[in-house]
């Protein structure tokens, strides 16, 4: 029964000529009252609810924006600090290099100085030694001279003691003397 009625209605709807606005618009009463209700809802929403929600949304947007700005500022600060630190580090490195260079130069100077001083010392020592040697030699010459005098006198007296006429003999005497002299020198060391 219900189905038959429905089908009949459906049939009716399709057979009655519908055209123009009725094709695309809802039933007039449906449209009218839904507009009224929609208008009321729209007014209440736009006047009461949405402003509140929008306020919250705006506040949130501001909050996020503020947070982002703060973060950006912090980032910028950090970047600046890093830059400063890097600059300081570079400076410190340069200073260290300079100090090292200075130290090297100074060390070279000290070394040169030490070398120079050692050189002078050595020269002085050598000079002193030379002088000492000279003195000793001088002394030796003096003592030698006196000894040679004695020896010469000794020799002369011997030669005179022998016959001076015979050359061969004279020669023998001299040889004997020299041999004796040699042995004495050897014995003395």
């Amino acid at each position: 029964m219900m189905l038959a009625q429905t089908l009949l209605l459906a049939e009716e709807a399709h057979t009655t000529e519908v055209e123009g606005a009725d094709l695309i618009l809802p039933a007039p009463y449906d449209l009218l009252w839904s507009i009224v209700i929609f208008a009321i809802i729209a007014v209440v929403f736009t006047r009461v609810f949405l402003p509140k929600i929008q306020k919250v949304l705006d506040e949130r947007a501001e909050l996020i924006q503020g947070g982002i700005e703060k973060a950006e500022k912090a980032q910028a600060e950090a970047a600046a600090a890093l830059e400063e630190y890097t600059a300081q580090l570079t400076e410190a490195r340069a200073e260290a290099a300079r100090i090292r260079e200075d130290a090297r130069v100074e060390a070279a100077q000290i070394l040169a100085e030490a070398r120079r001083r050692a050189g002078t010392d050595a020269e002085r020592i050598v000079e002193t030694a030379q002088r000492q040697i000279d003195a000793e030699r001088h002394q030796a010459v003096v003592s030698l001279r006196s000894e040679v005098g004695t020896l010469a006198t000794d020799l002369a007296s011997r030669i005179v003691g022998e016959s001076l006429a015979d050359d061969a003999r004279q020669q023998r005497v001299i040889d004997a003397f020299l041999t004796e002299l040699e042995t004495t020198v050897k014995a003395e060391g």
């Binding site: 429905t6 695309i24 618009l25 009463y29 449209l31 996020i64």
Partner: protein, 283 residues
């Protein structure tokens, strides 16, 4: 909108005969019109009798889809890290789907299915909400075709992902022979599960949505038609009945807005649950 106005004007022009124009009928009553199932089969605008028959419900669907795309197009192209008002409102909806529907149900799988489920939620919301918007005045989902398509989409999704993950045998075994049950019970349980997985889930998805929208539309039209009748046709004390039916219409409009969102929520939630059941190792 311009087209609508033109149509209204032309309707007035052609209605020179006995029948009243649309505008005239809007502010008068020729008796009480009870809402009927014919509301969901409006006359064709073109293509009458063919598969391409295009009536005002199809038109409403097209408008809803265009509005959804236009709105998100507009906002997505202007999306900023710090959301403005409109972006904030849309983000709220997206977060709602993620936090209230998908994540509690799907957990680790959220990322894979969030786009699909969000699309389903937004589409159904927009198709439902046309039921309370003047000039549209009918939910696009109140004709069963669209709910069927949406339900089929979910049906194919959960079957495809289930079979892809477990293999055909594994999927069927998992779903039709739930473990931890005495073997004899399968005689009873398996036919029920077959019905569930292959017929009831998609069918209930589509029917629940369409039935809710149909009922909502009938309720609203009943209220509006009665208001029209009492306001323009009734005399004396009966006229005050218009206030009652109008208040009811108002309440049901708010209720329909709620139902539109609720049905989108339910549909999406169930889609997530079905997908999750298909993917689960054992249940």
């Amino acid at each position: 909108m311009g087209n609508l106005l033109a149509a209204v004007v032309s309707a007035e022009a052609t209605d020179s005969g006995g029948s009243k124009s649309y505008i005239e009928r809007m502010f008068s009553s020729d008796g009480f019109h009870a809402p009927s199932i014919t509301d969901f089969f409006p006359p064709a605008i073109f293509g009458d009798g063919t598969i391409f028959e295009f009536n005002r419900i199809m038109m409403v669907r097209v408008i809803a889809a265009l509005m959804l795309i236009a709105l998100f197009w507009f906002v997505a192209n202007r999306a900023k890290v710090v959301p403005g008002r409109l972006q904030g409102a849309l983000e709220f909806m997206l977060d709602f789907v993620k936090d209230q529907i998908v994540e509690p149900v799907m957990g680790a799988e959220t990322k894979r299915f969030l786009p699909i489920l969000t699309t389903i939620f937004l589409a159904i919301t927009f198709f439902n909400i046309t039921g309370v918007i003047p000039f549209l005045n009918i939910a696009s989902t109140s004709l069963i075709g669209l709910p069927i398509i949406m339900a089929l989409w979910v049906y194919v999704l959960y079957l495809a992902y289930g079979v892809k993950k477990h293999g055909l045998g594994g999927y069927l075994k998992n779903n039709l022979f739930p473990p931890g049950v005495p073997k004899a019970i399968y005689l009873l349980l398996t036919p029920i599960e077959i019905l569930q997985v292959f017929i009831l889930r998609p069918a209930t998805l589509a029917l629940r949505l369409a039935a809710n929208m149909i009922a909502g539309h009938l309720l609203l039209v009943l209220c509006f038609s009665a208001t029209q009748y009492f306001f323009f046709a009734a005399a004396g004390a009966m006229k005050s009945m218009a206030a009652v039916t109008f208040a009811a219409g108002f309440a049901f409009t708010l209720f329909e807005i709620f139902v539109a969102l609720l049905q989108a929520y339910v549909f999406t939630m169930l889609a997530a649950v079905y997908l999750n059941m298909a993917l689960e190792e054992e249940h």
